[in-house]
């Protein structure tokens, strides 16, 4: 019995892994083709209007652009498998290093924003479910959070806290060596990112909590003498967590790569700006590495969320064999 269960779990884990690998390979193929058909010669962008044919040819061969497409694809996949992302045509340094530097900004920023949005999103939802007279506050917060474009919110925060009050820097990032200064630089962007995300969490969480609170077993729990707060924390919250986790997984992937606008407003050297620069400079080597990384993040986060959900919800565990 025990052993059977273990083999089943192992097998299902392997199936998940194989699925992940197949998805990654498919994503790589799509990314390669999509970027390859983009019009524009990276060498021409790098060398400018007065480039000589010799220099163009030399640059193309240095990056292997003169090879046939299938060969280039195989070479790329092979290098990826070794963790080699290639050399950026614009910056002339290893893409892995470039991405590493940017992750040091984007990951802490995403975590900070996620923490903020979760705490006020969930906090507000619990508040409204606990004391329905706060309902209107949560709805208003949700509407405002969704309606304000985050670049505008970012500018508003800069005008208030940097230009007006002089409390925080208007943007930029001094590097982690600066310690507290580095963290200070992330506060406003994290708020700008977290407000709309928190609004989404608040609305979804409130709807889920209310749905659970209408269940018959809640009335039973209340009849047993459990307080409103106790019911919320013990029964309603765990039930709301499964769909919320799925949402947070999506938000985390978005925050890691999709904050191009907020990074631009705050002049932060994150992944989003690297992506924007790679597109503008037609740096296809950096571009495809980044898109692949985003695809891989989304796929991995998705699998991770699946496992987490199964841990929380026994029904899902049984269904997936984990």
């Amino acid at each position: 019995m025990e052993i059977d269960g273990l083999t089943a779990r192992l097998r299902s884990g392997l199936v998940r892994l194989a699925g992940l690998a197949a998805s990654l390979l498919a994503a790589a193929a799509v990314i390669f083709v999509a970027i390859d058909v983009l019009p524009g010669d990276p060498a021409a962008v790098v060398l400018g209007l007065n480039a000589t044919p010799d220099a163009l040819a030399a640059l193309r061969s240095e990056h292997g652009f003169d090879q046939p497409a299938p060969w280039r694809f195989m070479a790329w996949i092979g290098a990826l498998a070794h963790g080699d992302f290639g050399i950026s045509t614009t910056y002339r340094v290893a893409v892995a290093g470039l991405i590493g530097e940017r992750l040091a900004v984007s990951v802490p920023l995403a975590c900070l924003a996620m923490g903020l949005s979760l705490s006020w999103g969930l906090g507000l939802a619990l508040l409204a479910a606990w004391r329905p007279r706060f309902y209107v506050v949560v709805t208003a917060f949700g509407e405002i959070g969704l309606a304000i474009p985050n670049f505008w919110l970012g500018l508003l925060l800069i005008l208030t806290f940097a230009v007006g009050l002089g409390l925080l820097p208007s943007g930029g990032f001094p590097g982690w060596e600066a310690g507290w200064g580095a963290l200070r630089a992330l506060i406003l962007p994290a708020i700008a990112l977290a407000l709309p995300q928190g609004a989404i969490i608040a609305r979804l969480a409130l709807a889920l909590l209310n749905e659970t609170l209408a269940e018959v077993y809640i009335r039973t729990a209340e009849a047993k003498g459990l307080s409103r707060a106790g019911v919320l924390v013990r029964h309603a919250l765990p039930n709301a967590m499964v769909p919320l986790l799925a949402l947070m997984g999506l938000q985390l992937s978005f925050l890691l790569g999709g904050s191009i606008i907020v990074e631009n407003v705050f002049a932060l050297p994150g992944l989003g700006r690297l992506m924007a620069q790679a597109i503008a400079q037609h740096d296809i080597i950096t571009l495809r590495a980044l898109i692949f990384l985003f695809a891989a993040t989304i796929l991995t986060v998705h699998s991770g969320v699946g496992i987490l959900q199964a841990t929380i919800d026994p029904r899902l565990r049984r269904a997936s064999g984990l």
Binding site: P42, G48, L49, N50, L159, S170, G171, G172, A267, H282
Partner: protein
């Protein structure tokens, strides 16, 4: 409404009651719009490389100053032979690179040889084309021998593409630049800033600032916020001209408006019907009200030009009255050329704001004479591929930012596809002239030929808007070439 006004009042009060972030007397922060992709001006065309490194990290034999004049750089003095073929440079003594390597005539020979290599990525190889050889009679004398007289040779040597490098460090200059200039590279937080520290062994007068930071802020609204918050001591070129009035009212800031060498043109495909007909090109030129484009697209900043030449050069001739704005005459001219009802054409626009904004206005103006314009916005790589290299376009709008680049009209396969023996002769006279008068007169003829042939519609010079903290002095008002020499800055 009352709440809104109250909030505004509070924010305004805050804005004017707080002083700018405290000035650090030893350090200066310059904010510029674009980040350089690398820090070696001999290995890429990006203007941002020059803005950061020229005269700061790297130096040239001869330098261009803020007024566009040639000044001694690493060469103390020079002599040119009567036939214009031999240039003798006397080098400054006691100069060394940041890593301690002494600067000698061998570095001159090496820098030239490196730029001339077939695989070299130098963006302006034409500067080195006329060079036959470099002799090094002694460590402080360099003799450059040309294969043909070249009037602008010294001027080319003053460009960022001709900075002096050392054999031991040149390969790494893209990421760890080692030059002879007043500032040494310290670190690069990619995507955000480059930090420099003063070079104590520099040959010139000791600079005011021990440390300098270049920060990269592309969004115009964010640039304005950063200077108002005191996070930048200077903005080298503000991208939002509409913000100028508000910035000028702020007593803590100083705003100056000047110009660059960016000749903004509506380029026409001279090799494609109907633009191969000079009457059609003249009609297009006459349909465009230059001043209105400058008002509408550039908030009135930008100096009108009538040919592909900058008013800052002594050889400049004012040709803005050639094919002057006259829509009636333009219509008549189109009818003469066989298009009484006009025709349709596409206008392909690269991304910069000046191009997109001017393009919209020009499309409306051309509509007035019956030329129906379809605007096609392109990303820069696609613009390079399709317009610049593929010559697949009717009309396009772009600024040519290199100084003194009228010679591009002599290239038969350049994207305008203009071919004129008369122009080529005038240009050749200018380039081989041995006196300034003869050279300037020949440049005058070349400019006039371009204007008469209405090769393109010549619009305006791109402006440079500098915003600084009021006590900072020494920034360049104009950009005879893109540079922000830090050694010239100080607090009042």
């Amino acid at each position: 409404m009352r709440v809104h006004n109250g909030l505004r009042a509070i924010m305004l009060a805050c804005a004017f009651s707080t002083p700018l972030a405290a000035q650090v007397p030893e350090q200066v922060t310059l904010c510029m719009p674009l980040e350089p992709p690398l820090l070696d001006p001999t290995r890429g065309p990006a203007q941002a490389i020059r803005e950061l490194t020229y005269g700061n990290i790297f130096e040239t034999l001869v330098a261009i100053d803020r007024d566009g004049r040639l000044q001694p750089g690493l060469a103390e003095s020079w002599k040119v032979s009567a036939d214009g073929l031999v240039y003798d440079f006397k080098l400054r003594s006691g100069v060394s690179f940041h890593d301690g390597t002494p600067f000698t005539s061998f570095n001159v020979a090496y820098s030239v040889e490196r730029a001339k290599r077939p695989e070299s990525r130098n963006a302006q190889k034409w500067i080195f084309d006329p060079i036959l050889r470099v002799d090094t009679p002694d460590p402080l004398s360099a003799r450059i021998v040309l294969s043909r007289p070249t009037a602008n040779f010294l001027y080319g040597l003053a460009w960022g593409d001709a900075v002096m490098v050392a054999k031991g460090s040149a390969a790494e200059n893209a990421t760890v630049p080692v030059g002879t200039g007043p500032y040494k590279f310290s670190r690069w937080v990619r995507g955000e800033r480059v930090e420099l520290v003063v070079n104590d062994r520099w040959w010139g007068a000791k600079p005011t600032f021990a440390k300098a930071i270049f920060r990269f802020i592309s969004d115009p609204a964010v640039q304005v916020a950063a200077i108002k918050a005191g996070d930048c001591d200077a903005l080298s070129n503000l991208a939002a001209p509409e913000a100028i009035p508000a910035l000028k009212r702020d007593p803590r800031l100083a705003v100056t408006t000047g110009y660059t060498e960016g000749k903004t043109i509506l380029a026409m495909n001279n090799g494609k019907a109907p633009f191969d007909d000079v009457r059609v090109r003249r009609a297009i030129a006459m349909a465009i009200d230059r001043q209105q484009v400058i008002e509408g697209a550039m908030s009135g900043l930008g100096i009108p030009i009538g040919s592909h030449f900058s008013p800052s050069h002594p050889a400049y001739v004012d040709l803005t009255a050639t094919n002057a704005y006259d829509p009636m005459k333009a219509k008549a001219m189109l009818a003469q050329a066989g298009f009484p009802n006009g025709f349709s054409a596409t206008l392909k626009l690269p991304p910069p704001a000046y191009a997109r904004r001017s393009g919209e206005i020009i499309a409306a103006m051309l509509q007035q004479i019956g030329v129906k314009i379809t605007i096609e916005p392109l990303e820069f790589p696609q613009w390079l591929e399709r317009v610049f290299r593929g010559k697949d376009y009717d009309l396009t709008l772009i600024a040519h930012t290199e100084p003194l680049d009228i010679n591009i009209y002599a290239r038969p396969d350049y994207y305008f596809q203009y071919r004129s023996p008369a122009f080529n002769a005038a240009l050749n006279d200018a380039e081989t002239a041995t006196s300034d008068e003869a050279r300037n007169a020949a440049y005058g003829r070349a400019q006039k030929r371009l204007a008469d042939d209405a090769v393109n519609v010549f619009l305006f010079l791109l402006p440079k808007v500098t915003v600084t903290k009021a006590p900072l002095t020494g920034t360049w008002t104009n950009w005879p070439l893109p540079a922000n020499p830090l050694a010239e800055l100080s607090w009042k």
